[in-house]
Symmetry: C2
């Protein structure tokens, strides 16, 4: 007998069906018992006659097969229920559950949830975070493929760093020393120059940063793109605006059927996301919010939060571009704007930076000079430099952190909640 | 003036247009010259009056902007050509090209092509390999998403190996020792058990294998899937059959417009790919082909080639499943079949293994026993083992090597041709 999924039951009323899934809850009354069964599509109430089956042998979270008749139900759980004719255990539970997972909301601390990741993921709300994440990633790809971008796969074992060479994980590559890529930056630029013009990649990248904060992971998924023949960074900002509209619309589309609890959280992406320069941002923080300890080079988390407040009040937008970052702060490949600033931007979403992007230098001599300005040795980057000798179009790009976007979109508290298996300063398992 | 792409010109005849791209070739006659311009969509002939422009200053592969009128053309190159009114250099070429790339087929050895990857990728045939690869990856995802699979992103920095712990690259993870993942095997199984039931991932994996062959890379892209509630490995084989049909149809769909030179190479995927057991395969090699030096545990490259011959003759199929591999040869998570064999399969395509897959053990005690049979210590795999204590459904899965599939689909000679930036025993750059 073919397996029926729980969400298919509405079309199978009055039919004999075979369900498979996990035992989510058991409720015993004097004559009958209720087994709540869970599969990947939902939960359903199954009614068991206590005379026919001894449910005391069936443990929560066992994998079972239940056969019976699907009938209409008045329960809150689902519009159908099963009058069970047989129930059998496919796969047993051999230990007591270390955490209780069948409640709507788990009151368990994050470290414990992450330690028992496979079990905590069985909770519907936690499970759904990653259904949304999968939709985000595929929407990003779809949008770019529709706009003539080519997907690329570039190596994560590299011989040189793209972001200045600090905070890299070291790999023993046979007799050589290598590193884990901090970003596909060099490769995506090189591939624009190799004729693809428009490329994207979604893949893991690595930052060996010592701090352990609620917004950092040491391994995360970067959604990268790079585009040739642009005017300047404005083209990239416009593109990101469109991508975000598309992503949110795709997440929304599936929300009612799959993760209705997140529907309220989804933002409205403006048709034109507002932007302010970095200098203006600093001025606002200083003059409007009287913030002290302001760095002239970057925004800190508190600054980002205040700018979120500002953006909501002034622009009615949860998204805010900050542009024209100081040259000192941005990597050597960033196109300068005058002597002090750059053709660059960050995107803040609900008070957290989710994107860094900008126009890149495409002229060989300018790149060489800028490397020297940054204290880097051009001869250490010869494979990257080569492409600039042979006709590199004006170009730019960006990277969106997948976990950060997921975290902010669903208003989670900690980025680890948006990573299936987190890697941080101390966590290397599961 | 908005940029027109070369493939859009057929709808712009008799209009003034602005093109941007690379100078592919220049041909000088006495009164006029031809500049062949290349962008990501094709090449076009541009006619320049020698009196108006001195083309001697423009080098091959410079990035230029060309304005002019699009008119019908009788040239072999394209159905339109441009009567140039202005030409200006956007980005210069500062060195002599180290390799000649504007010929149809490059007669350059592979190492040189890989050393100058960005330039060699500008050759149309080489460039197109990765347009096909991008289609393969996205088709794999689309098919699985349509079949209710959830995309996952799992860590590549791991504390334990999935395939027995040999041939792993070591990573310095702060004060700890970690490794690069050989496969997402443990994680995809864990996520089946965490309630997703059906998951897939496309990402880089790492094998620190010493040999340097035409079919091995030390970093490659693995297209992985895992599925719960299966009967046995036959369900996975059927699924792969459907996936391959879908992938080939998607590659075919775009072939005429984008990479017509590959059209002839595409295989017919049978509705039911034939299969033979490993024991039968060994018998065929011994009895039919009189092959010597046969291993009783695995097929060697010569054996795979002979089986390709056999499959074409006997089944008229370029694909062949080999099933029931010996238990000795397969990893500890493979479901045994009797005492000697396993519920496992490889898929051979044109004489090369492109997939390994099978049913996995889902019972905790059986898994523990099998680990011990394999000489592994269950306590070293406690995070992986945990899921088997709490209700793991019967499941199985497979991995397809993206570069191998690309290589075999397009009949390339070396897997490095199907990797944008190869990582092998000696190559760590570009």
């Amino acid at each position: 007998m073919k397996r029926t999924l729980i969400y298919e039951l509405q079309n199978k009323l009055e039919e004999e069906v075979c369900l498979k899934g996990w035992v989510h809850r058991i409720r015993r009354l004097s004559k009958i018992s209720f087994v709540i069964l869970r599969d990947r599509t939902g939960i359903i109430q199954c009614v068991v006659d206590n005379k026919s089956y001894d449910l005391s042998l069936i443990k929560l979270e066992s994998v079972v097969e239940i056969k019976g008749k699907a009938v209409k139900s008045n329960s809150k759980i689902s519009i159908a229920e099963i009058q069970v004719s047989s129930i059998s255990v496919i796969s047993e539970v051999c230990n007591d559950l270390p955490i209780e997972i069948n409640k709507e909301n788990l009151d368990i601390n994050l470290e414990t949830l992450l330690d028992h990741r496979v079990l905590s993921l069985r909770n519907r709300h936690i499970n759904n975070i990653f259904k949304v994440q999968a939709v985000i990633a595929q929407a990003f790809r779809e949008f770019l493929i529709n706009n003539d971008f080519t997907e690329i796969f570039t190596p994560k074992i590299v011989s040189e760093g793209a972001e200045g060479g600090t905070a890299m994980f070291e790999v023993k590559y046979f007799e050589k020393k290598a590193y884990l890529a901090q970003s596909p930056q060099f490769y995506k630029q090189m591939l624009v120059g190799s004729g693809y013009e428009r490329v994207f990649e979604i893949s893991q990248v690595y930052r060996a940063e010592e701090h352990n904060s609620r917004r950092h992971l040491n391994e995360y998924v970067s959604m990268d793109l790079e585009m040739g023949f642009i005017e300047d960074e404005r083209d990239i900002m416009k593109l990101e605006n469109e991508i975000l509209k598309y992503i949110v619309s795709k997440v929304q589309e599936k929300a009612i059927g799959q993760y209705p609890e997140f529907l309220d959280k989804l933002p409205k992406v403006p048709n034109s996301i507002p932007d302010i320069t970095f200098s203006t941002a600093i001025r606002i923080l200083r003059d409007v919010y009287r913030k002290e300890d302001i760095s002239e080079e970057d925004l800190d988390p508190e600054g980002e939060k205040l700018l979120y407040e500002y953006s909501r009040e002034k622009f009615k937008s949860e998204f805010l571009f900050v542009t024209d970052y100081p040259r000192k702060k941005r990597p050597m490949y960033t196109m300068p704007k005058g002597s002090e600033f750059t053709h660059s931007f960050d995107l803040l979403f609900r008070g957290m930076e989710i994107t860094t992007g900008g126009q890149r230098i495409h002229n060989y001599d300018m790149l060489k000079e800028n490397m020297e300005y940054k204290g880097l040795k051009p001869e250490k980057f010869q494979h990257y430099m080569e492409v600039f000798k042979f006709g590199m179009p004006p170009h730019g790009g960006l990277a969106i952190g997948l976990e950060r976007l997921t975290c902010q979109l669903l208003e989670l508290n900690n980025i680890r909640e948006a990573s299936l298996f987190s890697r941080d300063r101390t966590r290397l398992t599961p």
